[in-house]
Amino acid sequence: MENQFPNVLKFKPPNIPGGLVLRGVLALVVLAVLFSAWFTIEPEEAGLVLRFGKYVRTVPSGLHLKLPSPIETVVKVPVERQLKEEFGFRTEGSSGPRRTYSQEDLSAESLMLTGDLNVAVVEWTAQYRVRDPYKYLFKVRSVQKTFRDMNETVMREVVGDRSVNEVLTVGRQEIAAEVEQRLQTLCDQYENGIKVEQIVLQDVNPPDQVKPSFNEVNQAQQEREKLINQARADYNQIIPRASGQAQQTIEQAEGFATDRVNRARGDAELFVKVHAAYQRAPEVTRRRMYLETMSEIYPKVKRKVILDEKMKGILPLLPMAGAPEVKP
């Protein structure tokens, strides 16, 4: 290793006796150089060691040795940390359970055309990791900006192939899945060393100006359900009762019918019995019955007029104004 760079490593300071200051300086330099030979890599990081700018090795987390600076330098890349990019919104900070969002207008990021040439506002988050630190560092310049551009492009491609209804309702999951897959393909193509972990669709909305009319549709939908439910309630209130009432009418008729027939049977039975007795002595029975009836009625009547056969003509003198009933 040392033979590779003889000019640098075999440079020895001349031995100067008595040059204390010079010795001190040299000692300091040596110490500094030795210190720069140690380095630690945090658990979520990987260290890439460069020798004169050329990549030589990757080391995992822990304490490591390298040739002192400026021969070897270390670049640390957080390979285990999950990184996040937000589109259409920015989280400013999370105090407790609540997050605060930036008030900045980011509609340029989130406003996009759908396949039916409508406009939707899509906000999303891309979670990713650095899978290949070498590519991440050395293949693409401004990786983060590139990654954002890629996100916006892919999201618009996917949303552009869907109707606004699909984007707003049923298509969410599918969109996220397709963006994730296409984005990974693009990352591989760009060799940026990024592994897309997850695309999460946040708020997907119609543009603010159009929102009220979307709400109106929801409202109308509710209204429709309400009207139908009311009509059903009305139906349910009336019909079972009417059925009951109908049953009642029929039962009443049945009762009437039984009553009628039973009475007829009773009357008939009575007649038959009386008739049988009558037939045994018709003349007497008939007369008896007549006289019995009469003697029953007679005392009840207050006003009685008795006419003798020979005294006709009294009738017109009777005061008929009281309209009393005349019975034969």
Partner: protein
């Protein structure tokens, strides 16, 4: 003598350091280098990283980026073939493939960016002006997934067929641009449309259309609700009539049957002796109809008073 030796040694060391620092240079992983001598390129460009040597003082090192670089287009207002004005924001990835050629033609990145602006903006404009908006927005003729009955109401543009699609059009831009950058020592890896948006005036129109479309759907929901409610109300009315009339019919039938049965029973009994029946019924009627207010006029000839005058 000793001091002279020391002085010489220090001097030699300083000279060595100066010379070395001029002769040695590092090429980073992200760099590629062109070495020139008095402005004239020397040897092949160096694309491998590491510690390198050159002639001190006379040679100069020009480092260039080796990674893919971004080109971010300015948002441009462009009319499509179907005369819709849209904002188009695009980006491209490019890199320096031939540092020497790049150095000669474009000098530096700024030069390259401005040349890329010319080429890519121009090609974008050409391609967009030749195509309809739908071709830029959609990539395929994938049929929309119909969520519910709303969707079929709101696809006035769904019938528009995509002839090329976004991917093909961006490839077209990319290929045309590549043809024009071949002799510049650069390669465009990819070109993409990042954003397409309506210009403000068109956007308002689109919003108005979206609103009216939603209103239409809302109206349909409302009239559907009213219609369904009316249907149920009608159904209720009909059902009510059916139930009530059915009950009436059944009741009358039952009563009729009972009346007929009663009539038969009465007839069967009374037919034994109609005359006696008449007599019996008359007696019953008399008993029931005579009350104290009645004035009774009786002849002495009557059965009851026959014996009023005499006992014969």
């Amino acid at each position: 003598m000793k001091e002279i030796r020391i002085t010489v040694m220090i001097l030699a060391a300083v000279v060595a350091v100066v010379v070395l620092s001029s002769a040695l240079y590092t090429v980073g992983e992200t760099q590629q280098v062109v070495v020139t001598q008095f402005g004239k390129p020397v040897g092949k460009p160096i694309t491998t990283p590491g510690l390198k040597l050159k002639m001190p003082f006379t040679q100069t090192v020009h480092a260039f980026e080796k990674r893919f670089m971004e080109w971010d287009g300015d948002p441009n207002q462009i009319p499509t073939k179907d005369k819709r004005f849209i904002w188009v924001d695009s980006y491209a990835r490019w890199r320096i493939t031939d540092p020497l050629l790049f150095f000669q033609r474009l000098r530096d990145e700024r030069g390259a960016q401005s040349r890329l602006d010319d080429i890519l903006d121009g090609e974008t404009r050409n391609t967009i002006a030749k195509n309809e908006l739908i071709d830029l927005v959609r990539s395929t003729n994938r049929p929309f997934v119909v969520a519910d009955d709303v969707a079929e109401l709101s696809q006035p543009e769904a019938a528009e067929r995509v002839e090329h699609g976004r991917e093909k059009l961006t490839k077209e831009v990319l290929e045309n641009a590549r043809r024009r950058t071949g002799d510049l020592g650069i390669e465009i890896l990819d070109f993409r449309i990042k954003q397409i948006n309506y210009v403000e005036a068109v956007r308002q129109e689109v919003y108005a259309r979206m609103i009216s479309e939603r209103k239409r759907i809302a109206e349909r929901y409302r009239s559907e609700g009213a219609g369904e409610a009316a249907r149920i109300a009608g159904e209720k009315e009909r059902q009510l009539r059916v139930i009530e009339s059915e009950a009436y019919r059944k009741a009358q039938e039952i009563r009729g049957k009972a009346d007929a049965a009663a009539a038969d029973i009465y007839a069967a009994a009374y037919n034994r002796d109609p005359d006696f029946y008449r007599f019996l019924k008359s007696m019953g009627t008399l008993r029931e109809s005579i009350d104290p207010e009645t004035t009774l006029i009786l002849s002495t000839d009557s059965e009851l008073l026959r014996y009023l005058n005499s006992a014969k």
